[in-house]
Amino acid sequence: MYSDPIRGYLGGASVDGAGQHDPIASVGGFCSSVPCEGLSARRSGLLFGVSIDYAACANGVGTGMLEAISGNVLRWTPPGGAAGDSVTVMNGETADICGSDPSKFVTVTRKSSMNMVGIDQVFLAEQYNNVVSMDDVPTELQADGGITYSTLFLRNVGAVDISGFVVWPKQPNVRVGVDLPIVALSNALPEEPPISVTWSTGNDESGGVVIPKIPNGFSVPVWIERTIESQAQASPCERVDVEYKHGAPPLPAVDTSGITITEAGCGGGGYKNFRFSYYSSSTGRESQAGPILKSPDVVSSGFYINNIPFSSDPIVDKVKVYATPYQYKDGGEMALDSIVDNIDAGGGKLAPVLSWEQGPSGPAFVEYLADWTEYNGCFSGLYRVENEELVGYRLYLGIDGAPDFTQEAHAVFTGESYEIDGISEDAEYHVVVRARNKYGLESQNTKAEILRFGATKPTAPELLKVGNDANGNPVISGIYNAIPDKQDRADTFLVYLDSTGAEPNPETDAPVHTLSMLNAPIDVLQNAVIPVALPDGAVIKSVIRASNTAGDDPIDSDSSDVITHTISTIGADRPRGHGFYSRIKSQARTAQGWNFEQQVFDADKGILFDPNIGVVDFWCGVDLVWRCVWDSGNADSCKIYMPSDWGLRGRPLVAGVGNASPVEVAAWEESDKTVYITIYSGMERCIKLDVIEKVMYASFTQLREHVNYTARTPVYQRADSVAFQIFDPSSEDWVTYAEANGGSFCMNCPMSQRLTQEEILSL
């Protein structure tokens, strides 16, 4: 049993047509249909197919839990109590489900053979069996500052504690009991002193109390305390919220003359005595219900409702359908509670959502849409109004913030596009589009598309480095990283070069080259060759920009910083590199075992480093060459320098000029005449060896000597330059790096000459 907590209703449907519980039964007063001996139970949850008939008062007030332990087993946990034993309840059975305290129980009836699944939250409240009615008396209406006020006319306020007492609808004035003296009635909070009011007992319209001025649309709390003559103590103070909604002209009643109801199925029950009213969601008003549509018999639980006429009032958006459900029991009909269904209305025909045809023999459908939700006492999902004019879109727009979905949509349109005028290029627009189907249902919200219109520049890219290949083509690396959620999605890199000594001016110069981005909003230029071969020794100044070319007029970013580079085309080609590394490898094979900390490097020793961030193959033999794993994603930490001043040969190799911090050695091992040393990652790339002096001197000397000796090496060589092999995990390739300016060696400058890893390993 579902019982409503006490509510205030606006009576006098003939006056205003405002919402009320039962348009037929309510005129002239309301009565409850709730017996008083138990607690009222209001449920929410997934558990269906079982009803709560009774909730014992011993449960107390609060929220309990009715849960299906398995398909046929229920368990009850009373408010604030502990769960009791599980109870098997088969279809059609009625059972008491107790908490750990047997006095705290609910009586339930299983009404479906479907397996019970889920949990219901059951809110239990005290029942006073009160009814508060509110009259909207026309003579009391006032207009004050644009707000319409009405009076609150309370009547039929009472408390009944007679066990088993039931008041049925349609008999509002039949009340069993005594006149119920009202000792206090307050429209203030309970901790404030009650306001004495004049109360006229009685059950007709002459009885009750008047509280003036309730603003339209406001809910007024009224606290009621009762004393029953037979009881010594007053009842608890109970809060009743009475809402007043005023609507000026009454909504027209539904013309039911053309409405037909066709049965669409069979089942264990059905409905009859259909009534219809128009309803406006925006105003909360409801029309007077039309006459009862007499159906020839109980209509099954599946049915069509056809030909509900359009409402002439545009604010009407729903049709409420009232009917009395019946179920067959013991060969007869047994009335259940009234049901109400809200159907989105735009007029026209209610399209049946479901229909069926039963075969000559076989199983019978018993429910057609078991997915309906018993929610607030309403069915849903059985049928909808079909109206093609409703199909379209709703545009919600928020400026510099999310749209306010509680307000009307910015626009409703039915075509495939909609123009938004008056765009501000300084604002950020948050756009959400909902689709609406012919049943008046809208799609769900998704994350708003955040847009900024106008000449918003893309984020400026960063130019990381500039080099050149053996043909004199500049080789550049850079990155574009768009600011999140900004409408500056660039799609193209623009490269500007100037070899005259001046800085390029992208405002007037044309880009010498463009490169499409493949991975915006974050894209990387990695060693991109710019096909503008320049002579050896040419000094170029380079900048790059990011450009959004999606529109009619491309929008360019600001320029990156300028990098100056001198073209140098001296170098050898790959085949000669093969010989170079071949020699190195052969020399390594001749290395002898040695003690890392004590041994002085000489021509027949070799070492190999393996920092966490990458492998540094540090070979030391007759000739010295470096093989490193270089993490291009962490380039700043991977630069390896040698001191430029050879007078400082005693200093260790450091990551940065003047930085002599030693690298901590995490581990090292010796294997096959080679020492592997692991260096902690995340630190400055500093290599410290006790014998660094020897390493540096001997290495450099030997390498120079080697380079000179193998004049056809693949490595880049100039007067002060040597070569290194660096493994870049990003490209998974070994790259020959080398640069020496002023006697220092920088490992982060790529050369075009490369050997693949396979080539290295084949040496």
């Binding site: 929410s44 479907m114 045809e357 057609y368 596009s417 123009e419 909902r434 049943y439």
Partner: protein
């Protein structure tokens, strides 16, 4: 107390994790899917499973007294009573011009059987057949069910273009 603002992260093709920030104290959260309570948790996240292309309304409240918004399911559940002699029931759906068998439900002695459809396309008529089959493999006369799915539409895809001269943005759906 009120509805809790939630974020969602897709964790697999069919699952999302919804989360609502840092849990404070022992607050119990009530998770509703399409208006139905599907779980209670004191955690700050909850996993939601959806079908392909299915969209659901997810609401989380920190008060059990709060009511979810009205939402409509995109599924249809067909129920039928058992048939004497039937050993199984075959459910077929009319897909692409053919009746396609999509489920077989064994008769295990229950009085009532039901089957829940996939997430059905909106504003479209769908047709189903339920046929009972006896232990000799003989099919009975099928029941025919025709339904029009009226649910919340799918989220529309849209794009926006902008004319710098007229300062008008156009939403294209």
């Amino acid at each position: 107390m009120a509805e809790v603002e939630v974020l969602a992260r897709q964790t697999s093709p069919e699952t999302f994790t919804i989360y609502w920030g840092e849990q404070i104290g022992d607050i119990e959260y009530y998770v509703y899917i399409d208006g139905l309570l599907v779980g209670k948790t004191t955690d700050s996240s909850f996993e939601v499973r959806v079908e392909e292309n299915e969209s659901v309304v997810v609401q989380v409240f920190d008060d059990e007294e709060d009511d979810p918004d009205y939402a409509i399911s995109g599924h249809v559940t067909i129920g039928w009573e058992s048939f004497i002699g039937a050993t199984r029931y075959v459910v077929k759906e009319f897909i692409g011009g053919e009746w396609t068998e999509i489920a077989t439900i064994l008769d295990d002695g229950r009085f009532y059987y039901s089957w829940r459809s996939r997430f059905l396309e909106d504003s479209t008529t769908h047709q189903f057949l339920v046929t009972h089959i006896d232990d000799s493999g003989i099919e009975g006369a099928p029941l025919y069910l025709r339904c029009v799915m009226a649910r919340h539409p799918d989220v529309p895809a849209f794009s926006v273009t902008y004319d710098t001269e007229t300062q008008k943005a156009t939403v294209h759906v």
